[in-house]
Amino acid sequence: MDWASILYLGITFGLFVIFALIVVRTYSRKRKDENEVAKFRMLDDD
């Protein structure tokens, strides 16, 4: 495997890890209310 392939694989893996962290953070029970609060602001008058 050459350096370009290793770099390509590394970036792909890195992106996957970032995505996994976003999922974990978004669905963390601790942050459930915090992550849902924004939708209720839509009921405010424009």
């Binding site: 978004t26 609060v37 924004a38 839509m42 424009d46």
Partner: protein, 470 residues
Amino acid sequence: MENPSYNTDIVRSFVTWSLVWGLVAVLVGVIVSFQMINPDLNFGPYLTFGRLRPIHTNAGIYGWGVGTIFATFLYMVQRLCKQPLWSDKLAKFQLWFFNATIIASAVTLLLGYTTSKEYHEMEWPIDIMVVILWVVFAVNIIMTIINRKEEQMYISLWYMMAALIGVAILYLVNAAAVPASLFKSYSAYAGTNDANVHWWFGHNAVAMALTAPPLAMFYYFLPKSTGVPIYSHRLSIIAFWSLIFMYLWTGAHHLLWTPVPDWVQTLAMAFSIMLIAPSWGSVINGYLSMNGQWHQMKENYLVKFLILGITFYGLQTLQGPMQSIRSFSAFIHYTDWVPAHIHMGTMGWVSMISYACIYYLVTRISGRDLYSVPLANLHFWLALVGQLLWTVPLWVAGVLQAGMWNAMNEDGSLTYTFMETMVEMYPFWWARGIAGVIFMIGVLIFIYNIYMTVRKKESAPSTATAEGRA
């Protein structure tokens, strides 16, 4: 919290101009559809199919689509951030520069100046205008977001930022070219690299201009119209990030069975299939937001447009991945199936959402009730019937065309000549032309309704009417 002073004049102006360019796009679309039925309708050299077709697509995408994006983003960002626009002067400059760019594009395309790259036909001086226009827009929106009074960002803001950054990167990379004269340039890339970069742009322009912004609009205007919040903000966030991670890999599915390396094609195919998940994440979120509210499909014209819009998004994002599979692509690629797929997206998804947004914006900004809800309902049905009569016959035509192209005699010779396959298309092309006329009548009714709303006597809108119920 004290209500800041929002700039609504600029929103009104962008709504007006997006309506103008939207009508131009549909009108030219109808003309080119009849040019395919009757070649005598080509009036050379300026009014031929080859020159009018890119005007139809560019007026549709950049005039109607992007014009509506400008209007809605400038409206939404101020309210989502509880912050007036960062610069009203920049927004005003953006309005005039937008129209100058669209006019310059139309004139040069009519004169025959083209890069010949689909959806990126404009030559390099206009590319520079597009870049200036987008940077001005992006700076204004992003600075408003940075100065926001609300700490947590609603999902629409995420989609808006993705569109701003995504379009900028795509357009700059694909526009790289070496100018040979004032209106002639050569791509900076060669051969399959050029094709690969171009379809990376082409497909992701669909993502960043015709998917992310309408989703931002859908997530904003659905709760505003129904009066209830979306089902899950967390689901919308996950759908957003998975869409962003996956979309940019899919462009090469336009190049299946070409000299582009096999692994690139396979990668694009795989990511296209995976893309069903985030797309349907938004569709399901939209449907679940309607729990207990489905009666509004009958009572609220805005909800009709929005829910049918997200439904066509769902259908579009199932059909698209299906088309990206090699074996299926081999059958339908280059047939009339493909324009039918695109038009379900533009007429069914993007336009339905945009209609709802504009109806909402006009009543809110003008402070008046909609002139006629029955006319809005009529517009809905004309848009729906026009779109279905456009797409369904063309899918059938595509399958018929593919079948005839692939039919072989026992000795291995082709069963049908190319001309025989063309002759079989005429009934379907007639259906498309008529569908275009029906859709255009809907657009004319829409514009008439908007015009009558803004010109009638001042009256505070009832809450029910402003939210689409009446």
